[in-house]
Symmetry: C2
Subunit: 372 residues, 2 copies
């Protein structure tokens, strides 16, 4: 791996790898369920494999089809173990149904993490089904009520990204869930963005203390009180405009609001980008300008390209699962794989588990209002 | 008025104005409560006055201060009636307290609409206080449970904008409220965006029918059933990415989600715009490119400038109230005034009242599941 989207992360990872003597990481990849089919998934892992010699893969899906796709890529020779699984979870399938089916590529991919064969799982499939299946196969960490999906969001902060959670694991969250999101989000920011004391904000419709829903007012007190044990600084209520801002590093919200905000932000960035392209095609002069500014515009595009931050991380489980966009292309799949690799190499899952366990122990000892 | 942000609206307005022989419109303006103080408000009305000879104003706030500011603007001579009111509603004041105070510029501005002196009210003040005061002074339309704030959102649609509501009147909305939002939003889109049969979408975390909160599933049926009487086409569930898209014209959601989405979209657009500016300053070549592309970039900036669509309209009251951004500059204030003028000139408030009344009557006659 020669580059990193996350400043400060890469040296740490390299250092750890060096100490382990170039330890290999095996990722378990659900080849099915993405909107573009398994060929895109295989193209994505090939791209990652060419950049990172420490990566190996277990690939889950219809054996013959996957075998043909993998054989076409020389870089994947001897680095992919194919598991022949016939079933595919459809995008419109109910999570409660999907999680009961034993023959799916999704379940097989998760089980490889459960059985210790792989360090993390990556899937482009149905989010609800992936979370439901992860919960019954991997199980939740002790002390966690609702696992969450955390995403990275381009921001004005020096680290270039903010963490937001939950962005869609569950449409509900009470004050105790929000407290757990603050703890988990801070841990992710500390390990993933290399911030010693991440600043946490609670998303609301106004920054005044009397505003917002009842559970937000209750959560405000819980999160403020647990800042010491969570290793974060609590900045209070924030608004939607602060999500890409530099006021906080971690945005805590319920999965309904977080999902709407994530998709609204992506849609708006894409709209502005498309309007920009139109503007540069408007006149002959602007077309020349676009040529002159090509490098700068490409830098801008890279900075706001949602594919670069593709990958929602499931937090609160006994194992790492990365959810890639259903519509991800090979670049997007490769970004999700990179994220899964970085989290595996840094031992994030074990660190988060230890942090949650110590919070639970502390709550039992000193009677603070943290959930058990 | 010589230009219009809303295609198709201006001719209709002109036509109506022509038939009325250049009827004057009087707007009631709360001079206080904006982040930038009364000088910015007066600068905004002066800008509007210079563009539109049919506009007159009643200005509410401390008499001496306002008198000095108005005297400096020749264009405002004989067009502004100042009401000396000492009290100002603070941004952090609780709505329940603010609405009880009789001496505020906000209440005085609303009362001028109530008393028929002005056709619409514009305020940059505390949103919650403005809504609470509007509700007790103007009262709700019969058949409306929760009034809503509707905003215009730049979109890929031919009309250039979509309508979203509620963006912050109330943090709660049950299925009947959401139905009323659909009816009111469709009426706004029909009158404000000149769409015969607006397409309405219900904001959710997924487009599959089983996803989302219970009230959203219930609202889906209610809104679908009322499409005939509401004069809209119901497109079902939509996601955050569809807000600036061309799939629907009207986005229905609760005021918590809508407010977060609005501010997230604004924040993201601003982030991309700032990154773009940085990109053009990166190299000497890109600086030359920026000069060449200046006209195109200005066109882009105008297209995504949130000040151009400044103004949330309160729907469901016996009178028109436009809420401008608290941080609006003179351009933003002027945009809110323009919106208030257009709604007044088109008789939108009366049309919406008639639509709601006929929906109530129909529900009583044929026993559909609409609220009484």
């Amino acid at each position: 791996m020669t580059d990193s989207d996350v400043p400060g992360r890469i040296d740490e990872t390299k250092g750890r790898l060096g100490a382990r003597g170039g330890l290999q990481v095996t990722l378990s990849i659900d080849a099915m369920g993405g909107d573009r089919g398994p060929a895109t998934i295989v193209a994505g892992i090939a791209r990652s494999a060419s950049k990172n010699p420490h990566l190996n893969f277990i690939l889950h899906g219809p054996g013959d089809e996957l075998d043909k796709l993998v054989r076409k890529r020389k870089i994947l020779k001897d680095r992919v173990d194919i598991r022949d699984v016939p079933g595919v979870v459809r995008m419109d399938e109910k999570p409660s149904q999907a999680m009961r089916r034993a023959d799916t590529s999704m379940r097989s991919a998760i089980d490889a993490v459960k059985d210790g064969e792989a360090q993390a799982c990556v899937s482009c499939g149905n989010t609800g089904a992936l979370m439901a299946t992860s919960m019954i196969r991997l199980r939740k960490l002790d002390g966690i009520n609702r696992p969450a999906i955390a995403c990275l969001w381009p921001s004005r902060n020096p680290q270039g990204f903010n963490v937001m959670l939950d962005v869609g694991a569950d449409i509900r969250a009470d004050e105790r869930d929000l407290l757990q999101y603050a703890m988990m989000g801070a841990s992710y920011a500390r390990n993933g963005l290399n911030l010693n004391v991440p600043r946490v904000g609670l998303l609301n419709v106004g920054t005044e203390e009397h505003k917002g829903r009842a559970e937000l007012k209750a959560a405000q007190d819980l999160i403020a009180n647990a800042s010491g044990i969570g290793g974060y600084e609590f900045m209070g209520f924030i608004e939607g405009g602060d999500i890409p801002g530099d006021k906080v590093d971690v945005i805590v919200t319920d999965g309904f609001t977080g999902n709407v905000a994530l998709k609204t932000g992506e849609g708006t960035a894409k709209l502005v980008g498309d309007f920009l392209k139109e503007a540069f095609k408007a006149t002959p002069l602007s077309r020349i300008a676009a040529l002159l500014a090509l490098t700068s515009l490409k830098r801008l595009q890279k900075r706001i390209d949602p594919r670069r931050v593709n990958g929602g991380v499931f937090l609160g489980l006994r194992g790492t699962v990365v959810k890639s966009h259903g519509s991800a292309d090979a670049t997007g799949v490769s970004a999700a794989i990179k994220l899964a690799y970085e989290l595996s190499a840094s031992g994030f899952s074990e660190r988060l588990a230890a942090r949650v366990a110590s919070a639970v122990a502390s709550a039992q000892n000193d009677g603070t209002s943290q959930p058990k």
